[in-house]
Amino acid sequence: MDHDLTLLPEILVSVFLVIGGLFGLVGSIGFLRLRDTMQRLHAPTKATTLGVGGVLIGSMLYFVMVEGRVSFHELLITLFLFLTAPITANFIAKTHMQAKLQEKDLPPSGGKYGWAVYDAPPGEENDPGR
């Protein structure tokens, strides 16, 4: 496909695409090479935020500078990914804690109640259904 561009937009879009690709690669390599599940949880966030973010910024610049139209779909995708990434990581960490860690392995929660993975929610400690 023929991309007929002037020099500055071409350099900008290319730089953002290469940055995004590199961070995606870094996230996947870290996901392959780190040793523990909790460490592995850390690596793909780079692919989520910086990798996909770089690609989305490159895409936005491309459509503004080359096609001449402003598109907000990239902002929507970025917002959705940035909103859902912490929720996903929290759920996966809770799954790992419930499967592999005991409550005595953890430091005290420092608050009035225990860790939410193991204890009943406040107000339901004496609920016989649990």
């Binding site: 290469v18 995606g24 996230g27 996901f31 692919a47 459509f63 929507l76 859902t84 929720i87």
Partner: protein, 89 residues
């Protein structure tokens, strides 16, 4: 030059997809497999957006948005099922 950049990013995210597929097949715990599925969805979104730039069309943003939503809901459903034995209580 932008063609080479797109090809480079395609190669990076394709390798990332293969790596996360390997982690999903080999991952020792269930949490690893769920995280690998989530990361595969992320890499796939990037690949679809790159294909949209390659073709010069904006029609693939809806597809990537839908895949992002389905990926999030499926990850939460997997985790809820492992955590509680039920998805919607």
């Amino acid at each position: 030059m932008i063609t080479y950049a797109i090809v480079f990013a395609f190669a990076c995210f394709g390798f990332g997809l293969l790596g996360t597929l390997w982690r999903m097949l080999a991952g020792p715990t269930v949490a690893d497999r769920i995280l690998a599925l989530d990361t595969m969805v992320i890499n796939f979104i990037a690949l679809i957006i790159l294909y949209g730039i390659w073709q010069g069309t904006a029609i693939y943003f809806e597809a990537s948005m839908l895949i992002a939503m389905v990926g999030f809901v499926s990850t939460v459903a997997f985790c809820r099922f492992i955590l509680r034995g039920d998805i919607i209580e």
